[in-house]
Symmetry: C2
Subunit: 258 residues, 2 copies
């Protein structure tokens, strides 16, 4: 089975031109089939604010009303996505920028209103792995932003980590897939105070121990939960660390397997 | 030779939700291979103004400075393009939104500074017909916005009419191409005061007569010049009229051939 690498970057990389350029060069050197997934970061918030659109938060989570969705579509789908594509072309990567609406690649369902109405937020229901594969087989490198659609004409805001894992799960029908979650830390840390205490490998047994010891807490909890969900649904391996994990020599990151 | 239809719509259709929905339904019913090209219209100007970016005009033409290019990338490449793609998906057209950077489809060169520095405006130098064809052969319908790239990482603003004709010329190597320029009028008019005086067919001979008689003037002059340029470079036929020309029964529009 051929391999496919899904690399996800967050807002911290996108917001800084130098970090982005360094990352894109590393990404362009990644061998084999690959997909890039990017979030949007604070750029959307600052543009929304300039346009006089207030960011509405409930329990620390952003509410995507119609106006906010427009800004997200402009910033993630337009400004950020197309500039990444142009930069990758300059690095000889034949990139193609996508939302979930393009080639009907990622369908989602508007999140039902329970305690909180999150607005135009979509939970992924389907990944069109055959269509995405046509692009890969055509020699193109898909670059996904964090937007999906409901198939009935409505774009929806979707978490970029989720897009990475759902695309990886979907593509596992055709490839041995692995995810590279690039973030600020060097990896999952044994001691949060010590940024060099990277846990190099987490498997199911180690995961249980880490949970019992209370080492995985806060924001890392849902992240690892999502990782094991993906691994249980066909993804081969997941790597977490800073962008240096894409280089061939660095092994200071966390690899997660079943 | 298979046929390929390139349909271009302007800002007047995009700005009005109802007009856009009517048009997209007509477009979805167009049979055979097809490509959509759209401009952006006044939406970019109004968003730029809200963001405090002044529209700079020289001799009645817009100057695309760095800030304006960002707005164009957001509005044309993000907001307008992705909403069209989502709406087409709802009409069972497997659309894919593109700038010229995506699949390296349209390369351009920044317009050299002579009397006026137009800023980040690109004149098309190359259309990657093989890459665009991979998308068409994959069952996808390309939807181009009016943005190209220079291959060195820079996005550039490019006239949508030009994109339509350059893509049509490029694709003529593989298809019998025809262009449908949708605009406000019913077609090229014999008498500008009478909107029903549509000239049904213009060929090279008729074109010369119309020029001599002074019937083709003002904005129509460069439009028809571009049409004959495209026809001389492999495009089979060009149609000009309002969106009703996409219906099967209406023949009240102008058809242009050599």
């Amino acid at each position: 089975m051929e391999t496919l690498k899904i690399v996800k970057i967050g807002g911290n990389i996108i917001e800084d031109e130098t970090s982005l350029n360094v990352f894109l060069e590393l990404f362009s050197n990644v061998e084999g089939n690959k997909i890039l997934v990017h979030g949007g970061g604070r750029r959307a918030t600052s543009i929304a604010s300039k346009l006089g659109i207030e960011s509405k938060m409930v329990h620390g989570r952003r509410i995507t009303d119609a106006e906010t969705l427009e800004v997200i579509t402009m910033v993630y789908g337009g400004l950020v996505n197309k500039n990444i594509v142009a930069k990758l072309q300059a690095l000889n990567i034949n990139a193609i920028g996508l939302t979930g609406a393009d080639v009907n690649s990622i369908t989602s369902k508007k999140r039902p209103v329970k305690d909180v109405d999150f607005g135009f937020v979509g939970d992924v229901t389907q990944v069109a792995h055959e269509s995405i594969n046509k692009l890969i087989q055509g020699g193109f490198t898909p670059v996904f932003c964090a937007i999906t659609h409901d198939g009935a004409g409505q774009l929806l805001n979707t978490n970029a980590d989720t897009i990475a894992s759902q695309v990886a799960i979907g593509m596992s029908k055709l490839y041995e897939t692995s995810i590279y979650y690039c973030f600020e830390l060097n990896g999952v840390l044994e001691d949060f105070q010590d940024k060099n205490s990277v846990i190099k490998h987490i498997d199911t047994t180690r995961y249980k121990t880490l949970l019992e010891k209370g080492i995985i807490v806060d924001g890392m909890l849902p992240k690892l939960e999502n990782c094991f969900h993906a691994l249980h649904h066909g993804v081969h391996a997941i790597n977490m660390g800073n962008t240096a994990m894409l280089t061939k020599t660095n092994d200071n990151f966390t690899k997660i397997t079943l």
